[in-house]
């Protein structure tokens, strides 16, 4: 449901960087989105096709690099992707684990024509 403001924000950032670089067109956007960010790619694509129309980003391809949630055990240092209903370390069953990836939520780069 909050994909519309997210998509608007993506467009604003991309246009700002493209204009600074004297771009004629934006052809690709490379987004990095962690699993903990709860964003649905299809919805962003849906809104993108509408709001990027008539801008230099119209028709640009959205590339989503999805980063799975990763945890690291603080005791045996195993890195793992947690199960749905259990975050314990699969190697030593420790509960002393920390989230090491999955919070990412940024526009990494854009591809432009000048």
């Amino acid at each position: 449901m909050h994909e519309l403001p997210v998509t608007e924000s993506i467009l604003e950032i991309a246009l700002r960087h493209a204009i600074q670089a004297d771009a004629r067109r934006i052809t690709e956007l490379n987004l990095v989105i962690g699993q903990l960010s709860s964003i649905i790619d299809d919805s962003i694509q849906f809104y993108w096709d509408i709001i990027a129309k008539d801008t230099i980003a119209e028709g640009a391809t959205l590339n989503f690099k999805r980063i799975p949630t990763q945890m690291t055990c603080q005791e045996c240092h195993t890195a793992f992707s947690p199960q749905e209903d259990d975050f314990a370390c699969p190697n030593c069953q420790s509960q002393q684990v920390k989230v090491s990836a999955g919070d990412e939520f940024y526009l990494e780069s854009i591809q432009i024509d000048t």
Partner: protein, 217 residues
């Protein structure tokens, strides 16, 4: 010519900028502020009523209520003694920094020392949008079930304190507190936690003590 331009900018950077402005406005007026988030029915408004009615005599409190529609929650906050402002998001599932920015001028910030922002009831979207408040508070409740940290990790990860409401229902509902707390601890180590019941009042004093200690002296 085809060029790749590095950007590396947080997708909600525009929201972050406005959030920082909100924070500055609040700090200039020495107002401590919290963003209360929870699923619908967890007890946000009930906890606000309790907080306002117990602290309201010595602390001037304003409540900004975000809802998709209606002013029912703001009415309850006002009845409890707070200055209340309603934001109707018109369908949006969360508050963002701009909505708060537009609501802040409706309050004389120099008149208050505590601002409570009641977010739209939702365990997903509000987690992504910083408002500029000092602390984010999540209210969980026993009937929601003990699996919520595992199902909504993004929300549990981003908050500064956790209220576990409706603990008076623990004898009637299967809720593995250890399992719940393990999930919370992994997502948000050392998170300040307040088990309480708005119905019986149990645990409310610890919550109020913590909140009072955050206020500007």
């Amino acid at each position: 010519m085809n060029n790749r331009i590095p950007v590396v900018e947080n997708i909600l950077s525009a929201n972050e900028r406005i959030a920082n402005q909100n924070r500055q406005l609040l700090e200039d007026a020495r107002v401590f502020s919290i963003n209360m988030m929870a699923s619908p029915g967890a007890g946000k408004t009930s906890l606000i009523e309790k907080t306002v009615s117990r602290l309201g005599t010595q602390t001037k409190i304003a409540v900004i209520d975000g809802d998709i529609a209606t002013s029912l929650d703001a009415d309850r906050a006002a009845a409890a003694g707070a200055i209340a402002v309603q934001i109707n998001t018109g369908g949006d599932c969360h508050l963002d920094a701009i909505m708060l920015h537009e609501a802040l001028p409706k309050i004389d910030l120099n008149e208050i020392s505590l601002l409570i922002v009641e977010n739209v009831g939702n365990l997903v979207c509000p987690a992504n949008f910083r408002l500029g408040t000092h602390k984010s508070i999540l209210i969980a409740s026993i009937p929601e079930g003990d699996d919520k940290p595992y199902k909504y990790p993004g929300m549990y990860r981003g908050v500064d304190a956790l209220v576990i409401n409706k603990i008076d229902l623990l004898p009637y509902i299967p809720f593995r507190m250890d399992y719940f707390r393990q999930g919370v601890e992994i997502l948000n180590p050392g998170l300040e936690t307040f088990p309480l019941s708005c119905q019986t009042g149990e645990g409310i004093p610890a919550w109020l003590d913590w909140l009072t200690a955050q206020l500007w002296k």
